[in-house]
């Protein structure tokens, strides 16, 4: 019993740290974006205020049960993904529930929240929600293909799907990182990562103005607050996943912050530099070069 309680407490600790980190990160990133555009931009703690404000709305509406629990699915997906990942390498405290499932599980589990949220958005009856979901799902399928090939290449390289072992194999030197030992797989996965973060050029899912911000169009108040929490946790979890797979993991929080920040910056840079793709364009794009790189990664690890 004691172990379970400590596990839960440790998990809450991780959750607390990562949530704050995620919120600050999103604020900082927007700040950086603004600075690039020669603006001051938001205050880095603005996401906190927005979050609090959304919880303080006095009225709210609901379109039905599925609409109501859609965000719950979403946040469960985000928190779950985080908690099923080993966050800090070698730390039993921040290992959380990674004993329950391996990389395959993690890759599948990230869709748990997405699909639940999509259903909730669907029940709102707003056509734009459905349109956003349809775009998001379509883009995701294409994006996942290079990612899968990269993951498989990794698994071949390390002979395991266990994230701990993948991280362990990258320790020692910066040159042991997958990024350097298996560059093709890393490139393929980092290209997929762009769409995973949902930033430009792959942000047509949310396309504000054209379809008011996609699936969450109807979400507001506390429901939106839950989604915002997820928007802090979920990307952070994904960053941690990529850090673990490609960049040698992290042995302490400082390392984690630095690495994930720069991983995030990759998508931010690309996002600022490139305009938006239409869905059919992004799908075709992923079936082009990223896919070839993924296949090449597989062939390389298999035959060389």
């Amino acid at each position: 019993m004691g172990t379970i309680v400590t596990k839960i407490l440790y998990a809450l600790l991780t959750l607390f740290i990562v949530t704050n980190y995620g919120l600050i990160l999103s604020g900082v990133v927007r700040k950086i974006g603004a600075r690039v555009g020669r603006r001051h931009g938001i205050r880095f703690y603005q996401p906190y205020i927005d979050l609090i404000k959304n919880y303080t709305f006095r009225t709210r509406i609901t379109h039905g049960i599925m609409y109501y629990i859609g965000p719950v699915f979403r946040l469960t997906g985000g928190i779950g993904l985080l908690l099923f990942l080993p966050v800090i390498y070698g730390s039993p405290v921040f290992d959380n529930f990674s004993f329950a499932g391996d990389l395959t599980f993690v890759l599948y589990f990230q869709f748990f929240g997405v699909l639940g949220m999509a259903l909730g958005a669907g029940e709102s009856g707003h056509p734009y929600s459905a349109l956003g979901v349809s775009r998001g799902l379509a883009q995701t399928t294409a994006m996942e293909l290079p990612l899968t090939l990269g993951v498989l290449a990794l698994a071949v390289q390390y002979h395991t799907l266990n994230i701990h072992e993948i991280v362990a194999a990258q320790q020692g030197s910066i040159l042991h990182w997958t990024l350097f030992t298996n560059p093709l797989a890393a490139i393929a996965m980092m290209l997929s990562f762009l769409a995973m973060m949902g930033r430009s050029p792959f942000d047509v899912v949310l396309a504000p103005q054209e379809i008011p911000i996609g699936p969450p169009t109807e979400y507001h108040s506390a429901l939106l607050g839950v989604l915002q929490l997820n928007r802090a946790i979920f990307p952070a979890a994904k960053l941690i996943l990529f850090m673990n797979l490609l960049f040698g993991g992290a042995t302490n929080w400082g390392e984690l912050v630095i690495k994930t920040f720069f991983i995030y910056m990759w998508s931010v840079f690309v996002g600022i530099a490139y305009p938006r793709f239409r869905v059919d364009q992004s799908v075709r794009w992923y079936f082009g070069i990223p896919l070839l790189i993924g296949v090449a990664a597989i062939l390389v690890v298999k035959y060389f």
Partner: protein, 213 residues
């Protein structure tokens, strides 16, 4: 796209039974809004601070004043730094910026959008037209005073007001919110019949429920 879609009609169910459909009743929830009690003491203060520092704006840009909203996002004025952000949907916005004159036709849309926002919500009226009709005060087709139709928190006078004036207006709004005076939504609920009456007086082709959730 006229009114026929909200008139009562009969459709045939898959089993072949006729079904009466009354769109205004069946499609829309028309419960009247209720005045919401504010939380007590420090909690409300904290909440008001958060509300004031996170102004999510729904810009209603049919009037000429709309053009003055855009520069707020540019490096020159950069309203973001004050916690002001634009949202594309009334559901998520807390500040409704109505830019300039309102024709009778657009008033209906304004009312609907306003009602779709959640409590607390604040209205910023932009330009002289919203105060007294401005240069259109005797027009057959524009309204004169916006606060006959919905509670307005801040008027920004001018024809048209400069972005600086807008920023000043937002600053004023922040003060109002922090002081706990930004209770327009409750005011609307409390004087619902009066507002509705005014709205219906001016909008002849009323084709929506009395309250748009």
């Amino acid at each position: 796209m006229g009114k026929e879609y909200i008139e009562k009609r009969t459709v045939i169910s898959p089993e072949g039974n006729p079904i009466e459909v009354d769109p205004l009743k069946d499609y829309f929830c028309d419960a009247a809004p209720k005045s919401c009690k504010s939380a007590s003491g420090i909690i409300e203060k904290f909440a008001n601070w958060a509300r004031s520092e996170s102004l999510w704006v729904l810009g209603f840009g049919t009037g000429c004043g709309a053009i003055e909203m855009r520069p707020l996002m540019t490096p020159r004025f950069d309203a973001y730094r004050f916690g002001i952000q634009w949202r594309p949907t009334p559901r998520q916005a807390s500040v409704f910026v109505i830019s300039g004159y309102l024709s009778v036709k657009t008033l209906k849309r304004v009312v609907r959008s306003y009602e779709q926002m959640q409590n607390p919500k604040f209205v910023v009226a932009l330009g002289s037209c919203t105060i007294n009709g401005g240069m259109y005060w005797d027009s057959y087709n524009t309204i004169n005073r916006l606060d006959h139709y919905m509670p307005v928190d801040v008027y920004i006078a001018g024809c048209m007001p400069r972005p600086e004036a807008l920023l000043a207006g937002f600053d004023k709004l922040k003060h109002i919110i922090r002081e706990g005076r930004g209770e327009g939504a409750n005011k609307y609920a409390e004087n619902f019949d009066w507002y509705k009456g005014n709205q219906k007086k001016i909008i002849k082709d009323w084709d929506m429920p009395d309250y748009n959730w």
